[in-house]
Symmetry: D2
Subunit: 382 residues, 4 copies
Amino acid sequence: MERLLDNLSIDLPSWAFGNSGTRFKVFPASGTPRTVEEKIADAAAVHRLTGLAPTVALHIPWDTVADYRALGTYAEDLGIGLGTINSNTFQDEDYKFGSLTNVEKKVRQKAIDHHLECIEVMNVTGSRDLKIWLADGTNYPGQGDIRWRQDRLSESLATIYQHIGADQRLVLEYKFFEPAMYMTDVPDWGSAYVHVAALGERAVVCLDTGHHAPGTNIEFIVAQLLRLRKLGSFDFNSRFYADDDLIVGAADPFQLFRILFEVIRGGGLAPDSGVALMLDQCHNIEAKIPGQIRSVLNVQEMTARAALVDTEAMAVAQESGDVLGANAVFMDAFYTDVRPRLARWRADRGLPEDPMAAFARSGYQRQIDAERCGGTQSGWGA
Amino acid sequence: MERLLDNLSIDLPSWAFGNSGTRFKVFPASGTPRTVEEKIADAAAVHRLTGLAPTVALHIPWDTVADYRALGTYAEDLGIGLGTINSNTFQDEDYKFGSLTNVEKKVRQKAIDHHLECIEVMNVTGSRDLKIWLADGTNYPGQGDIRWRQDRLSESLATIYQHIGADQRLVLEYKFFEPAMYMTDVPDWGSAYVHVAALGERAVVCLDTGHHAPGTNIEFIVAQLLRLRKLGSFDFNSRFYADDDLIVGAADPFQLFRILFEVIRGGGLAPDSGVALMLDQCHNIEAKIPGQIRSVLNVQEMTARAALVDTEAMAVAQESGDVLGANAVFMDAFYTDVRPRLARWRADRGLPEDPMAAFARSGYQRQIDAERCGGTQSGWGA
Amino acid sequence: MERLLDNLSIDLPSWAFGNSGTRFKVFPASGTPRTVEEKIADAAAVHRLTGLAPTVALHIPWDTVADYRALGTYAEDLGIGLGTINSNTFQDEDYKFGSLTNVEKKVRQKAIDHHLECIEVMNVTGSRDLKIWLADGTNYPGQGDIRWRQDRLSESLATIYQHIGADQRLVLEYKFFEPAMYMTDVPDWGSAYVHVAALGERAVVCLDTGHHAPGTNIEFIVAQLLRLRKLGSFDFNSRFYADDDLIVGAADPFQLFRILFEVIRGGGLAPDSGVALMLDQCHNIEAKIPGQIRSVLNVQEMTARAALVDTEAMAVAQESGDVLGANAVFMDAFYTDVRPRLARWRADRGLPEDPMAAFARSGYQRQIDAERCGGTQSGWGA
Amino acid sequence: MERLLDNLSIDLPSWAFGNSGTRFKVFPASGTPRTVEEKIADAAAVHRLTGLAPTVALHIPWDTVADYRALGTYAEDLGIGLGTINSNTFQDEDYKFGSLTNVEKKVRQKAIDHHLECIEVMNVTGSRDLKIWLADGTNYPGQGDIRWRQDRLSESLATIYQHIGADQRLVLEYKFFEPAMYMTDVPDWGSAYVHVAALGERAVVCLDTGHHAPGTNIEFIVAQLLRLRKLGSFDFNSRFYADDDLIVGAADPFQLFRILFEVIRGGGLAPDSGVALMLDQCHNIEAKIPGQIRSVLNVQEMTARAALVDTEAMAVAQESGDVLGANAVFMDAFYTDVRPRLARWRADRGLPEDPMAAFARSGYQRQIDAERCGGTQSGWGA
C-alpha cells in the first residue's frame, strides 16, 4: 500500500484558490489570490503539507502571464511545477452559441487558435496535457443541428490535434449538462471516446466525477476507459445532485473508494499509466486552502483503503458465486481506518502527521489575509 | 374553453428582462433594461401583444425605488399593474450561511426585517403576495444542524407572518437543490406545506416547475396542494436536467398540459381560486421579450388544450377500467391544434393574431437597442 | 455508544427468507422455507447470532395461519416475537386498478376488509403496527382521476383507522414509483404525512429508504418527520438506481450513517420514541440468512459510528461558520472503525464476535438444505 | 411526408401479446395467446389494421417451435413475416451470475451455444438480425470483476460474431440497470459501441428508448450512432421513471418526435439505412392488441410530425443565432395535428381510417376471448 501511495501525485487547479460560486452569488473570501503567482503560492502550501500535489494546473486566459518560463521558475522555487493547461472557450461573447462547434467558421477558427496558443504555452511550461472542456451545446430543441455540430467538432479537434507535440496529449472532457441545458456536444464518455479514438494515440479522455447522469456507475467507465487505453485524466470532485463541485469524497466516500479501486485494478497508478489525477472543485463557502488539503487527503485515504482490498480472497469468492463473501472482502478494506498508517507515512517523509492542523497552526492564512489587500481577487473570469 | 382562457392572467417577473446566465457566463444583450421602469415597459409590451400578462412581479432589492406609488402609476399608465413582491436573502455577504435559518440571531433578524420591508412595499403597491424563496441550506454533511434549522425557519416565518396583512399572503417556495448542494431547508412540497399549514390561512405554497427531483410527478403535487387548499402560486419554467429555467413548455409540453389539466380539474383557474400564475425563467441566450411572449403563449396554448379534455368521456372509460380509452380521450385533447382558435380569440379581443410576428414587426426591439445605451444593464444583483 | 446500541432492535421481514427476484427471473435457493414456521426459525437464527433482531414481521396473506396464538408461542420458544403486520393489496386480480383507491366501491371495501382482518391478527399476535404499503396508482395519464383517488384513499384509510386499537398504530408507507409507472397514490413523504396527520395520533409514516427520487436527501426527511412526531418506522434497504432492495448500507454506507445520525439526533433511538426499525429487502442472488445477518450488522455498525459524532465540537464549528471543521467532526466518526468495539459488545453479551463466521460454522444452512426438501418454497405470493 | 411514411415498417415483439407484469404481480388477460402461432395471429391483426407492422420478432426459447419454416409459412399466410430473433440468457438457473460474462467457462459456452442456435433459427426464418440483450451484471460492489467481465464479454461476442452470416447482423443492446442493480456489463451506448466496433461491420447497436439514465438526451445518441454508422435498431417504448416499458410516445410524445427527427435527419428512414424499428413494451394492465396498435400509430404520428419540420427555415434561423426562431420552426411541426392526413394516408391504402375503432368493431377480441380457453397463457418464460 505505501509503495502505491508514493506514486500518488495530484494536479491542483489554480482556480480553486480564487473565488467561485453559483449563478446566485459569488462570496468573496479574505486572502484570495489576486495573481497567478499568489495562486501558485497557495498550491505550494498544499504540497508542502501533504506531499501529494507537486503540480498546479493553469487555466488560460485566467492565468495568462507574459513570461511562462519565469512563472515556471517561480513555481519551482516554491517546490512545485506547472501542470495541465486548461483552455477556456466559454467566457467570450463570441462563444455565446458555441466555440469549436459554432455555426460561424470565424468563431470556430478563433477557438482553434486559442488552443494553439495554449499549446504554445505548453511548449514553454513543459506541460504534457491540453485539457479541453467545452461549454458548447444548445438550450432549446431545434436551436442547433446536433449532427452538423458533431462533424464540426470532429474537424476542429483534428486541426488542434495536428499541433499537439510528440510528448503532449489532447485530453477531451465530457459533461452531462451545464451550461447547455438541452444538448451538450460532448455529453458522455462514449462521445469523448469516439472523438479521441478518431484523433489518435495522443488523444485521451478526461473523466470529471461530477459530469454524469444521476445513478451512473462511474467506476465502470473508469474500468472501460482503462481497458480501451483512453483514460487520460480525472477531474476529481463530488456531488449530491448535479455538477456540485464539492470536495472529492465528501458526498460519497464509498464511490471514491470504488473508483480508485478500479484505477488500481486497471493499472492507473502505475508510473507509466498515463492517468493524470487532478482536482476540479469550487470552494464556494469553505476555506479554499484547507479545502484543497482535505481534497488531496481524501484521494490519498481512499487510495489507501482501495489498496487494502485482498484481491486474491475476493477472486476466490467471486469464482465460487459467494456474493456476500466477495462483497465482504471489498467492504472490509473500505471500513478499515487507514488514518494512523497515513500519519506514519507522512511522518516518515518529514510531513506533518495532520496537515489540516498543521495548516491551521502555520499562520499562513493570517499572513495572506493581511498581505492580500487591494487589487482584484481572482475568480472565474480573471 | 374560451371562457376559461379569459380567466388566464400571468404575472411576469421583472428580472426576466434583465441579463441572466449560468455560473460560467452572463451574456449581455442589447436593449436590456437599466432600470425597473424599463423592465416594466418591456413587460407592458408583452401584455399589449398577448392580453395575458396584466401584472409584473418585483424583486426587492433589485427593483427598489424611492416611490412605489409613482412606480405603480407608471405601470398603470403602460396598462399593467404591479404584482407579487419577491424577497432576496441570498446576495448579501451576511447570508453566506443562511438567512432565516442562520445560526446568528442577528442575521436571522436582518432577513426577517427585509421581509417586513417587503410587506411595506406591498402595502404601497397593493400587491397581494409576498413570495419567499430561500437559498438557505448547506453544502456539506455536518455543516449545519438540519433539525435546529427547521425550528429556526419555523420561528422566522412566524414572525414575518404576523405582519402579513388581512388581504395579503405569504407564499413559500420550495426547491430541490441549488445553490445549496447538500441540504436545502425547504427542499420539497411537503416541507413547504407543513410550514404554511402551521402559519395559518394566509400562508400558501409556491410550486416552481423546475424545483423537483428527476422524475417527480408534478401534476400530482398540483392536485394534492389544491386538495389541501394550499396551492398559492406557480413559478412556471421548464427543464431537461435541473433548475434550467428554460421557457415554460419548451422541454416537455405534455407535462405542462398535464399540470394545467390538474389546475383546471382542481378549480385553480376559477376567479376566486387563489392560484397565481407567474413565470420565473432565465433568457440566457434567447431574446428576452420574445422569450416572455412565447412563454405566456405556451401557457395559454396548453391551458386551451387541457380545457378540451372531454372529462365525461374520460370518466366513463376510467370507471370501466378502459386504460387505453381513458388515455386516448386525454391525448386527443393534447394532440388537437388549438392555434387557429387562439388566433381568433386574440383577434376578437383586438390583439394581434400572431404576437411573436407582431413584436418582430413592431420595431420595439430596435427602439430599445438604440435608446438603452450607457448605464448599467440590469441583471441578477441589480 | 454502547448504551445506545442496547436500544437497537430490528424487525426482520419474514419474506426476506423466501425467494424473490425481478420481473425477469426468480432464482430459487436451497434451504428456502416452505412455511411461515420455517421463516420464523430462520429469523430466530439471525437473532441468536446478533442479538439485534428480536421480532419478525408477518405479511398477510403470505404468512396466514389458522392459529396465530400458536404461531406466537412457536416464535417465543425460538427466542423471538411477532412484529409488524403487513397487509397485501396487490396480488389479487381485483386490485388490478387499485385497492383503497379503486373506482369500484366493492373493491375498496374488500381492501378495507383485508385490513380489518389484519387488525384481528394483530389483536392475537399483540403486534403494535399495521403497515400499509399500497401498489395503487396508474400507468398512463388520464387512466385515473388523481384527485378523486386521493379523496377515496382518505376515506378508506379513515375507515381502517377506526378499527385501530388504542395500543395499535396505522403506519402508512410511501413510494416514488413501481409497480405504478405514471402516478402513485402515495408517492412521497408529504402525501403520507397529510394522510396520517388527518387520521390522528396513532397514524404515522413509514420511510422505506429505497422509495425516493434520485438525489433525495433522505436524512432531511428523517429529521422533518421526527420534528413532526410522525416518523413511525423504517423499511431499511439500499439502492443504486430505483427500489433495488439491496442490503441496507451496501450501496452507500455514508448515507446510512447520515440517516442514523438524524435518527439519534431526533431522539429516534430513545426507548419511547415510537420509531420502529425494520428491514425490507430482497436477497435475489445472495444467501438469505447471511444477507439478513449482514443487514442488521450494517445498521448496528452505522449506528455505532453515528453515535460517535462529537456533537458538541460539531456545534462549535457550526456556530463559527467553520464548514470544513464541522464536516471534519462528522466525517471523523464515519471514518472510525468501530468493528473491534462491536465485537466486544457482542462478546460481553454472550454473542459470537463475528456472527457471519459463526453462522458459516454453525451448520444451520447445511441442515436446512437437507431438511427442506419437497414442498413449495416460499416467495412473493405464498 | 407521405413518401417517408411509406418507408415506415415496425417489427412487433411476439411477447407483447403474452402476459407481462412487474415483480409484484402478473395480471392475466382473457384472449392471451397460448402459442407462438396465436401471437403471430395477433401481430397480423395489428398489421392488417395499420399497414405498419409487416414483421413479428421472435424470442428464443419462448417462441421455440419444431419447424420454423412452417412457422414462416403460417405467418406469411396471415400477411406478415418473421423478423428479428431475440436470444434469452436470463431465465436459466445457470445464468444466475451472468451468461456471456459468467466466471464459469462452461456457462459462457452454453450462452454462446444458445446464440449459435438462434443463428440456426435465423438461417431458416431468413431473419437478418440477432438481437442480444444481456441481463449480465452484479448487484454488489466486489461481487464481480468489472474489467475481467468486459474482456470475457468481448471474447464471447467475438465467437458468436464468427457465425453471423454475410447477410445477418449482430445487434447489441445496452441497458442502464435492471435486473442487475449495481453494475451492468453493457450499461450505455458507449460500451455497446466499442464492442460492436471491435467486432466488425455486421455488428451494430440497439437503442431501447427506456434504457437510459434520467435526463439522458436520447436523440443525441441517435444522431451520434447514425454518424458512426452503428445504429442498428430501436426498441421503442416509453417511461417516466426507469425501464417502465409503457407504450411508445405515451410518456413524452415530444421526446419521441425529437428522436424521430434525428432518425430522419441522419437518413435512418431511407430504405437502405439499416435502422430497424421495433417495439419492446409490456402491456401489464392495458389491452394488448390495441396497445400494439396505439404504439405503431404513435410512431407513425410522430414520424409524420417530424417530417413536417421546415429544415431550411430552421437552418436559416440556426445560422443567424435566432434561438427562438429556430425552436419555433421545430415546435410548429410538433404542434401540427397530422391525424387527418394520416387518416387519408390509410384510406388511400385501403386501411381503416381509425384502426383503434376498427379493431373494437372487428370482433377479433371477442373471438379470441372465446377461443383461447384452456392451455397456458404465454408470458415471460413461455
